[in-house]
């Protein structure tokens, strides 16, 4: 019989030693009442955070040029979303691999996104009574890809000279074809709040899926360091490089139990790797399995015996194994 089997048998037998009184229902009731009081005290004292969400509307109002800059990248297919890869499209911009394996690629495109159509052209086509816009959409859609890129490139060259917060969006520019008309209408739509609704309701009346607006706004986070959303989340230390997974808005505690997960993102090579997410996921999966299997992993399962905190926990038993805790704490047992 192995030493492990002996140990398992030894500690697995019924307890033959002294007992003490115990009342499981009384203990559970007292514990619940203590928790109840604590929760009410904490809720009354500290309340809970609730910051309203950002919207496409609030973004377009705060940074009109910033919004148009991103919309242009959605239109010509160069935004982070347009070049992301699975599960949104077949591109490879955000495709991550672990060694030679890409689980992300294996599962393919699950939520297909065409940023030009879903974020720009389709919402614009719902606007009524704008003949110039109808013509602009048609002109753009019937142009060759090279022509579209040429128009957008010319427009971007001028727009990029403007600060993100400027409202001086260029409305006429012959070398940009129909693009200025498309962008000025899209900006107006966004600032009115209509684009928020359109991005949500393209598929049906009811929806709980916020992928489109979040990906649209989120593209500014990656492309523009001083974007509206970036500045807001940076103040609250919610960015990934700020251990943001742990943090909460305001001064409330967030998810401190995520400390280990977010720590790996701060350490090289994960902090600079293009595959950082899948690398951290793999590390945490392995660590979680190790913790789960501690009882059967040689070495790991012996750590508590090497660092004897247990002697403090069971100090009364070690002083006097026949101690029942029914009276005074016993003196040190004679050797």
């Amino acid at each position: 019989m192995s030493r492990w089997s002996q140990s398992e048998r030894k500690y697995g037998r019924p307890w033959h030693g002294p007992l003490r009184h115990y009342d499981i229902l009384k203990e559970a009731t007292i514990a619940f009442v203590i928790v109840l009081v604590l929760v009410f005290l904490l809720a009354i004292t500290f309340s809970s955070p609730d910051v309203p969400p950002v919207t496409v509307q609030s973004w377009a109002k705060a940074q009109p040029v910033g919004f148009v800059d991103i919309a242009l990248t959605e239109l010509n297919g160069t935004s982070t979303t347009a070049t992301y890869g699975p599960p949104y499209n077949t591109a490879t911009g955000s495709l991550q691999t672990l060694g030679p394996v890409s689980v992300q690629k294996f599962f393919g495109v699950k939520y297909p996104l065409n940023t030009a159509k879903d974020f720009v052209l389709n919402p614009l086509s719902t606007l009524p009574d704008f003949p110039s816009l109808t013509v602009a959409i048609s002109t753009y859609e019937h142009a060759s890809k090279a022509t579209e890129d040429h128009w957008i490139s010319n427009y971007q060259a001028q727009m990029n000279k403007l600060p993100l917060g400027s409202s001086a969006v260029i409305s006429e520019m012959p070398s940009a074809g129909p693009v200025p008309v498309l962008m000025t209408h899209l900006l107006a739509m966004a600032q009115s709040g209509a684009l928020d609704a359109q991005l949500l309701t393209q598929s049906s009346f009811y929806t709980t899926n916020y992928t489109n607006p979040l990906m649209f706004i989120g593209d500014s986070v990656v492309a523009q360091p001083n974007s509206y959303w970036n500045k807001l989340v940076t103040v609250d230390h919610l960015q990934g490089n700020q251990w943001g997974v742990m943090n909460e808005t305001g001064s409330w505690p967030g998810q401190p139990w995520m400390w280990l997960y977010t720590m790996w993102y701060q350490i090289s090579p994960m902090s600079t790797s293009g595959n950082g997410d899948v690398e951290v996921l793999a590390i945490m999966t392995v660590l979680s399995i190790l913790l789960l299997l501690v009882p059967i992993i040689p070495g790991l399962r012996k750590i508590p015996e090497k660092i004897p905190l247990y002697r403090l926990i069971w100090r009364n038993y070690y002083r006097d194994p026949d101690f029942t805790n029914a009276g005074e704490v016993p003196a040190q047992r004679p050797v």
């Binding site: 140990s7 307890w15 009184h21 309340s47 709980t208 998810q255």
Partner: protein, 301 residues
Amino acid sequence: MNGHPVVGAIVNLNHPDYYIHWGFILISMANFLVIVILIVLFALAISIPFLKGKPVKRRKYQSIASAGSDDESEGWTAHGRRLGLKYLPPDKLLPDGQPSYVASWVYVFGVLTIGALIMAILSGMVLAIEGPTWWHLSDIGHFVNSLHLWSVELFMGFMTVHLWAKFWMAAWRGKRWLTWMTGMLAFLVSIVEAFTGYLSQTNFDSQWIAFESKDAFNSGGIGAFFNAMNFGQALMLHIVLVPIILVLIVGIHVLMVRIRGVVPPIGAEPAHLGEDSGDAVIASGAQETGIQETSTLEVGQ
């Protein structure tokens, strides 16, 4: 970023936090305090003398071997009843005695965790009645949300201290590996439950977490099945599927604790572990408490 005025708070936390920056470590004061409080709680729990106990007054305990031995009924139900009585007789399920070594404050964190879980479920039920956006519009709703948030913070905190304690006791010894594993699984599933809860807040925090976390999910292929930006999916997971799984795992964990008992001290007396005893044993403590007819004392482990 500051939001609208906070309802009913004595201490206003609705302002940017102070952050501790040390090397590559960056932690908010609030999170730092939570971690410090948990470490102090653990240190106090293993250091402060436990309450004085009372002697066990019962004179006789049902042994495992004899439980249901005269039941000769047939059928699945009768077989199930015999199994239940064999592995979980009433004395073990609802014990009024414990091995004497179960005398430390650190033992109370398991039941405190369950208390906080019940509180989180109850406050979550109230939020469910009114719907996911009620708490933004109602002072009462905001207070119920606060109850829910702090239940969760306590739940995760108590569970962490419980986990530390069980690790340093090597509580998996003596065929208790399933007790450890179900406890660890409960911890991991609780992280998923808390995470989907954060996604279900319908506010600034939830939309940012959804956007940021999608890359991790997508990179591992999870994104093909779980879209963090689909609020409906996150909410359904948070209020139906994950809590059912969590409660099931916690239930199995508690049953395993009752069936296998609380792990004995490392290096406990051989006689107390039944190594050099006969079949019928009189517990050393039982002599003091007047118990005369004991067999193997499984009660309350």
